[in-house]
């Protein structure tokens, strides 16, 4: 018996000689993907910026939503693309991708930048803060109260609580000031980003101006709320962005690498016109305003069909009444060449025009020093420049109300209406916020298929929150009547 036990133990030992060594089980490594231990912030930042551009420009993200609610876009015959938009079918899944992708893709990666400690990475942390503020403001403007202070905690706090919208707005100013201070106080050892910063290529002064412009947007939007004069102090000195803020990681005419707006509404990577291009077109309301004011931008914002400009009212029941095939894609004004430039066009996330119109409003209301008319006309010029349209001066010197500054009896109406034109197709969600706040442009029609006489003023919390954060998500305010705090 003893003899055999010996054999057994020898066999056992032989079999497990390798197994029992300490390293035998040491194979659980990810050899395909990096972890934070080996990854620098210069490889994380461009991903955050990529998502900022996508969330703004993709099909059915913020820009599309604004263009639909602000009656810039409609639908050609033969498509049933925009039913929910025409029905104002605000549900927990309606445009929920804005919420989901902003938190999960953009903000998550910007928050990673805060993990890089020390003076060396102060610029990256500052950029992270600025971009977080940019996104959080838009989320507040769409949803009101949102997770903010506890958000993005991942394993530390998988179910963040919700914060008051106004309190978030107040903290955004604090965070933006802090970011600008970090840029000012960066030490010698601080790494300055280079081309990994696909927005400003490490130009930290421009980052500061961008932070200042976001702060301006935050302050102007709540400018109905109490006295803000002190908050504007020093902002003119820092200055605001004067060029369109764009993201360009190196967009190319290749699958998954096209500029997101082009990819969503232009052509595929093989150069073929896509369905969305044919399906999406002007409304009579937008065309009437442009053509009625002799606006040369009409041929840049919209494609000029051979048969002349034609818009489709949002939500018409029968495309063939009175004329069969009248609204075929070939006959209607689809999205124009000033917006759809090329597969490699840099992706806008904040327009210079917006910066100027925000300044115009702040100056007009007495928050900032300066000449509101200059800012207003700069805003129009910036829009012409973006679209590549000639004749800005000729346009805004016309003695037409809401076009020429002096001809406009209601300056706020002129500013917001022109901002609506300038942001058509580029950043129309900002016009929706302005509309909810000011009611301009006036006489904006509702969709013919709308189930209520009102236009939504906010979106529903997405189903992802209702199912996974049920204990925290507030009861859903009415999407048509309960405005965001700054619009009251």
């Amino acid at each position: 018996m003893k003899k055999y036990l010996k054999y057994i133990s020898i066999a056992c030992t032989a079999l497990f000689l390798a197994s029992c060594s300490d390293s035998y089980l040491d194979v659980n490594e990810d050899t395909n993907s990096p972890t934070i231990a080996v990854l620098g912030p210069e490889l994380v930042l461009p991903v955050g910026q990529y998502w900022s551009a996508e969330i703004h420009n993709r099909d059915r993200y913020t820009n599309t939503l604004g263009n639909m609610f602000m009656v810039n876009w409609s639908q050609a015959d033969g498509y049933s693309w925009y039913n929910d938009e025409f029905l104002y079918n605000v549900t927990t899944s309606f445009y929920s991708q804005i919420w989901d992708r902003t938190y999960r893709d953009a903000l998550k990666n910007y928050r990673v930048l805060q993990a890089y400690q020390g003076d060396t990475y102060s610029n990256y942390r500052a950029i992270g803060k600025i971009m977080e503020s940019y996104h959080f403001q838009i989320l507040v403007d769409i949803y009101g109260d949102i997770p903010y202070f506890e958000a993005l905690g991942r394993g530390v706090n998988p179910t963040p609580s919700y914060d008051d919208a106004q309190a978030i707005y107040e903290d955004l100013v604090v965070q933006l000031d802090a970011a600008m201070e970090m840029i000012d106080n960066a030490t010698e050892s601080a790494i300055v980003p280079s081309d990994d910063d696909t927005m400003f290529h490490g130009d930290m002064e421009t980052w500061k101006k961008f932070a200042n412009t976001i702060k301006l947007r935050v302050l102007v939007r709540q400018s109905g709320e109490g006295s803000l004069n002190s908050s504007f102090a020093g902002m003119s000195t820092i200055g605001f962005i004067t060029d369109d803020v764009t993201v360009d990681p190196g967009y190319a005419m290749a699958e998954n690498q096209q500029s997101p707006f082009w990819n969503a509404y232009g052509r595929d990577s093989g150069g073929n016109i896509i369905n969305n291009n044919n399906a999406t077109c002007a409304t009579p309301f937008a065309l009437d305003f442009l053509e009625g004011n002799n606006d040369p931008r009409v041929d840049y914002i919209y494609e000029h069909p051979a048969t002349g400009h034609l818009g489709v009212p949002q939500g018409i029941a029968d495309y063939d009444i009175p004329v069969v095939d009248q609204y075929d894609p070939i006959r209607v004004s689809n999205i124009g060449p000033g917006l759809l430039k090329s597969a490699t066009q840099p992706a806008v996330i904040f327009t210079a025009a917006d910066s100027y119109f925000l300044q115009a409003e702040a100056i007009f209301k007495g928050y900032l020093p300066g000449d509101a008319q200059v800012a207003y006309e700069n805003g129009i010029t910036a829009s012409f420049d973006y679209l590549g349209a000639p004749g800005a001066t000729d346009y805004y010197t016309q003695a037409l109300p809401n076009v020429g500054w002096n001809a406009s009896s209601n300056k706020m109406r002129a500013i917001i209406t022109q901002k609506w034109v300038a942001l058509n197709g580029v950043d129309a969600i900002q016009s929706w916020f302005d509309y909810n706040r000011t009611g301009f442009p006036a006489n904006l029609p509702v969709s013919l298929r709308a189930s209520t006489p009102d236009r939504p003023v906010r979106l529903f919390y997405p189903s992802s929150e209702l199912t996974a954060n049920a204990a925290n998500v507030p009861s859903q305010p009415n999407a048509f009547t309960v405005k965001i705090f700054w619009a009251n």
């Binding site: 057994i8 066999a11 056992c12 079999l15 497990f16 197994s19 089980l25 194979v27 659980n28 990810d30 395909n32 993907s33 972890t35 934070i36 990854l39 490889l43 994380v44 461009p46 991903v47 990529y50 998502w51 033969g78 049933s80 039913n83 929910d84 549900t91 989901d100 992708r101 938190y103 999960r104 893709d105 903000l107 928050r111 997770p147 958000a151 993005l152 991942r154 394993g155 998988p158 963040p160 990681p249 190319a252 699958e255 093989g270 073929n272 016109i273 369905n275 029941a317 075929d328 189903s463 992802s464 929150e465 209702l466 199912t467 996974a468 954060n469 925290n472 998500v473 009861s475 009415n478």
Partner: protein, 1042 residues
């Protein structure tokens, strides 16, 4: 091998020579049982030689032997008998019942053999005859209905179908619920099982619960299928056989389409529409498709074309051939087989080929037996691509998007016929499906080598040492491509297709090492002890890569070098993944036996894994059980009716392991990265609990085995209960947390079930016998808890419908947007539009807000029935199975709504109508009948935008009765073969899934179809869109043995 072959050749020669020796004489006779009935199929061997034969259907045999030779008669279930040949040329034999028949040996974990009476848990055996009765191309699908507690889901039915094997329902939310597969003693997997030629399988023993498999450690949680492949037998006559099957495949049924309305939009006729929202059919001749430059156009009568979608599909054809060789001498045995399968699918041009080779050999060297079991498998799949057209859709979508008045099958010749060509085809939005079939292909080739080598040494009478090395090497390559297509811009055409080519490859390697010491002791006079001490290790390595090139320069050259760009990025372009996982463990298994009627089994395994943090990577897996053969303990209870009774009880605790790299949070390049100037990595969405551990499953089982009327009626029953805690689940987190899932240990699942297997020999006479087995199994798993914060976890969801684990509900549960209803169940409508309100439109404070639980997707119970009727040389075998109590999400039906082909969309004649029995909520909680407010846009938009958004409409009763298999075979009587070298010739007709009965509300698809979705494929119950229509097969089988 060379010596082996020459040895067999010698045997063959000896066999031939023996036949011619003069002193040999022909012995003949009849073998019968105790009641005098002749016994067919009794094996007769001249002892010490390889000369053997079998009795025919009349129990008659003849064999050549010398005086003094000993004839050995053997038959399963009867005592073997030996008779010495004397002067007489007639030897008649009566064989007696073997009282120990129920103590047949079962093969359990690690190839350990135990008498059935010793096992403290329930097992069920399926032998070759039952498994292969209908010559299924896949063994797994042939198991449906044949084992109580086993659920076989044929999830798709293309030329290379996908089958899921689930024992005793689902017990894990996030980890695999599929049974462990052990082939010839070594751990394999379901893929390796699927890749076996079913004709090479000798038998299958199903170890139903975790207890039986506990010594496998973390692989054990879901029970095990112990597969034994065919071996040559020592001293067996050489057999060479050919088995050929030819089967046809047809579409069994299509969804019920409406046939009242055709091409059009918003009620108006439109000659290029893919949808059926046109006017009512009126039989007039109308323009179909575009007007061409020369002013001409195609015309067709505006009336429905019967079966227009069904006629797209062709008759499939499968041939299967197996050539096998089996034989042995006193010290060696050999089984060789070669098989091939060649299939043309029901989708034009879909093809599948497979080749299998099997070589099993054993050799005795004194007290050591060496064994080699090996299988080689190769297959080639060539099917239509999966991402068709500019929208990357499946073929079925294109078929569903052709109008009811279009004779689809007329448009085959898209290269030459104008009306079938890309620019001339009628449909302005979705291309001709025949075009798709030819311009987008998905091709795969895989190779698999599975096998093991073992040495078993009978050191002493009571001691055996066995070592075994197993390997499973699986590798393959794939190429998928799509041609580019541009269209005229003269009139509306689909968006252009871009071209691409995608190359992929993978390699998977599994090694196992097992070492076992078996020792049997008689401790005291009435007390025995059987012990197994062992150790085993397992290594798993996986590698895959994939590259996609877009926009091919030279049309028709599907090579990466021909692409204008290579897609970047982890998610879809250039991608590689490597995984490695290791485990090892030590185990002991002790079985104490008292007077051969009471047995106590205790086993334990100490297991180490690479998937967890080193400080917390070891787990102990205990199992304990008791078995008592009551009829031996208390012989008094035995009588003419009851002849055997055994009860068992057992309990075990096993753990599910995590997967390789599951605990690592890493960064990946998003789709599109790297761009020309910019590289980047984003943090993965999921985040991971720093203290994650294995998932724990505790199982208790009670079993009862009874035999009546000398084993003519048997009943096996089991009741089990499982508790799963620390479920490893990626819980859904709000995106506001900075990710969308959190991998952690959560909740509690409680499952129980009852299994009954009734076997009966209903009739048995000289010419006629009828055997039947009925398997009943019920299983139910309820979610007791998720987390303190969460009451549900989504396994797979679109946001509007999905498969979930929900507290208080059975697992898994379908949830979907549903009708808002008043307390009486009436549908609440919107007073402005007249449209029903979806629960997803309700504000959060309404208790009905959100998705609604609409039922579980696993059956409450399954009844399988196998019957075998023998009359003379004919045999008729049938297997039915019935599943009920569950629902499925009919995804194909959802897709049909948009195209206006659903029956519902014509139920109100495409008019606005008042929703039946609807109510209006006049103030919160107050409902009044709606008698006059009709729905809005009942012509079209109501159906596509309102009805289609209430996904409850597509949750259907998944009950089904299927005639899974039917086979009629005829064995040519031996007397006709006497003068031929042929030993056996059988002819048969076989059919699979010939008949299916579905409830009236399910007019869409096979509820068994399911997308392979969710963690470990657990999101069962959404199907019918990616799979295409269900099919049935029927054909002929010939088996010849020499």
């Amino acid at each position: 091998m060379k010596t082996k072959f020459s040895g067999i050749l010698t045997l063959l020669l000896a066999f031939v020579v023996q036949l011619t020796f003069a002193q040999e004489k022909m012995i003949s006779g009849t073998v019968s049982d105790e009641s005098g009935l002749p016994l067919p199929g009794v094996n007769i061997l001249v002892k010490g030689t390889t000369t053997g034969t079998q009795t025919d259907f009349d129990g008659k045999y003849s064999i050549s032997a010398k005086s003094g030779d000993v004839l050995s008669f053997s038959y399963l279930g009867l005592k073997s008998k030996e008779v010495t040949v004397g002067a007489s040329n007639t030897v008649n034999v009566t064989m007696e019942e073997d009282t120990a028949v129920l103590d047949e040996v079962v093969v359990t974990a690690f190839g350990i053999k135990r008498e059935k009476r010793e096992t403290t848990y329930q097992t069920q055996q399926v032998d070759e005859e039952l498994l292969n009765q209908a010559q299924s191309t896949r063994a797994a699908s042939a198991l449906a209905g044949k084992v109580a507690g086993l659920q076989i889901n044929v999830q798709s039915n293309g030329v290379n179908p996908n089958t899921q094997i689930i024992l005793r329902g689902l017990r894990s939310i996030g980890q695999s619920n599929e049974a462990l597969v052990v082939i010839d003693g070594s751990i394999a997997n379901i893929g390796a099982f699927d890749d076996l030629n079913p004709n090479d399988i000798e038998s299958l023993n199903v170890l139903k619960g975790a207890t039986a498999a506990a010594i496998y450690g973390s692989d054990a949680a879901n029970g095990a299928l112990i597969v034994t492949t065919k071996k040559g037998k020592y001293g067996e006559a050489i057999t060479v056989g050919v088995n050929t099957t030819l089967t046809f495949e047809d579409v069994a049924y299509m969804p019920d389409f409406q046939t009242e309305y055709g091409t059009g939009w918003q009620g108006a006729y439109d000659p290029i529409e893919n949808t059926n929202w046109g006017p009512r059919f009126d039989g007039t001749i109308r323009q179909v498709g575009p007007t061409f430059a020369d002013g001409t156009f195609q015309t067709l009568p505006y009336s429905p074309v019967k079966d227009n979608a069904r006629d797209f599909f062709e008759k499939g054809l499968t041939t299967q051939n197996t050539v096998y060789f089996s034989g042995g001498n006193d010290t060696g045995s050999l089984y060789l087989s070669f098989g091939n399968q060649d299939t043309d699918g029901i989708i034009p041009s879909d093809k599948y080929k497979r080749t299998t080779l099997k070589a099993n050999a054993t050799q005795k060297l004194g007290k050591v037996e060496l064994a080699l079991n090996s299988s080689f498998f190769r297959d080639e799949t060539n099917t239509v691509g999966n991402t068709l057209g500019s929208q990357d859709r499946t073929l079925y979508w294109f078929i569903l998007n052709q109008s009811a008045n279009i004779p689809i099958s007329r448009y085959k010749d898209w290269r030459n016929d104008l009306y079938s060509s890309p620019d001339g085809y009628y449909n302005g939005y979705y291309q001709n499906p025949y075009y798709m079939v030819d311009t987008s292909r998905d091709t795969d080739k895989t190779n698999r080598l599975t096998g093991n080598f073992s040495a078993s040494w009978d050191v002493l009478d009571w001691l055996n040492l066995t070592g075994r090395i197993g390997g499973n090497f699986f590798a393959g390559t794939g190429k998928e491509w799509r041609d580019a297509q541009t269209f005229t811009d003269e009139y509306t055409r689909p968006s252009p297709n871009t071209s691409f080519v995608r190359d992929s490859e993978f390699q998977r390697t599994d090694y196992t090492f097992d070492f076992l010491a078996n020792a049997n002791f008689n401790i005291l006079q009435d007390l025995t002890l059987k012990t197994v001490l062992g150790a085993s290790s397992r290594t798993f390595q996986y590698h895959e890569s994939r590259v996609q090139g877009d926009n091919l320069s030279v049309p028709g050259l599907y090579d990466l070098s021909n692409a204008q760009s290579i897609q970047g990025g982890f998610a879809s372009g250039a991608y590689a993944n490597d995984l490695e996982e290791r485990q090892y463990g030590y185990f002991a298994d002790l079985t104490f036996g008292y007077k051969n009627w009471l047995f106590l089994n205790a086993s334990g395994r100490y297991d180490f894994t690479s998937t967890l943090r080193p400080e917390d990577n070891s787990y102990f897996y205990p199992a304990i059980g008791l078995s008592a053969v009551l009829t031996d303990a208390f012989p008094g209870i035995k009588n003419n009716v009851l002849n055997y009774a055994k009860v068992t009880v057992s309990n075990s605790t096993v753990y599910n392991d995590l997967g390789a790299e599951d605990i690592i949070e890493s960064f990946t390049a998003p789709l599109g990265f790297p761009f020309e100037n910019t590289s980047g990595f984003g943090l993965q969405n999921g985040f991971i609990d720093a203290n994650i551990k294995k998932e724990k499953i505790n199982t208790t089982e009670f079993g009862l085995n009874l035999s009546f009327f000398s084993n003519r009626l048997t009943l096996d029953a089991a009741y089990y209960k499982t508790i799963t805690t620390d479920n490893i689940v990626a819980t859904t987190t709000p995106n506001s947390s900075g990710g969308n899932s959190y991998l952690t240990n959560i909740g509690e699942l409680e499952g129980d079930g009852l299994e009954l297997s009734l076997g009966a020999t209903i009739l048995k006479s000289e010419d006629f016998s009828w055997d039947m087995t009925i398997n009943y199994s019920s299983s139910k798993t309820v979610v007791n808890k998720i987390t303190d914060d969460l009451t549900e976890v989504a396994l797979s969801t679109s946001g509007e419908f999905g498969v979930y684990a929900v507290v208080g509900q059975e697992f898994p549960t379908v949830q979907a947007s549903a009708y808002y209803r008043d307390p009486n169940g009436n549908v609440v409508i919107n007073p402005t539009t007249g449209n029903p309100i979806s629960t997803t439109e309700l504000s959060g404070d309404n208790p009905q807000s959100g998705l609604k639980n609409l039922g579980t997707t696993t059956p409450d119970y399954i009844i399988g029935l196998s019957s075998s009727i023998n009359y003379k040389n004919f045999r008729l075998s049938t297997t039915f199975d019935y599943r009920t109590g569950h629902v499925y999400y009919a995804q194909g039906s959802d897709a049909m709504e948009f195209t206006g082909r659903s029956q519902e969309s014509v139920s109100a004649n495409r008019q606005d109508f008042v929703w039946p029995n609807s109510v209006i909520e006049t103030s919160p909680g107050v409902f009044e009948p709606n008698t006059n407010i009709p729905v809005t846009d009942g012509r079209q938009d109501f159906w596509t935008d309102v009805y289609n958004e209430i996904k409850e409409n597509y949750v259907r009763d998944a009950t089904a009765v299927k005639l899974r298999e039917v086979a009629l075979s005829y064995n040519l009587p031996a007397k006709y073969l006497e003068r031929t070298p042929i030993k056996k010739l059988s002819l048969g007709v076989v059919g699979r899934n010939l008949l299916t009965w579905l409830p009236k509300e399910n007019r869409f698809s096979d509820p068994e179809f399911s997308n392979n979705a969710g963690p470990a494929g657990n999101a069962i119950g959404i199907g019918g869109y990616f799979q295409g229509p269900p099919t049935r097969t029927y054909g002929l089988n010939v088996n010849i043995e020499f």
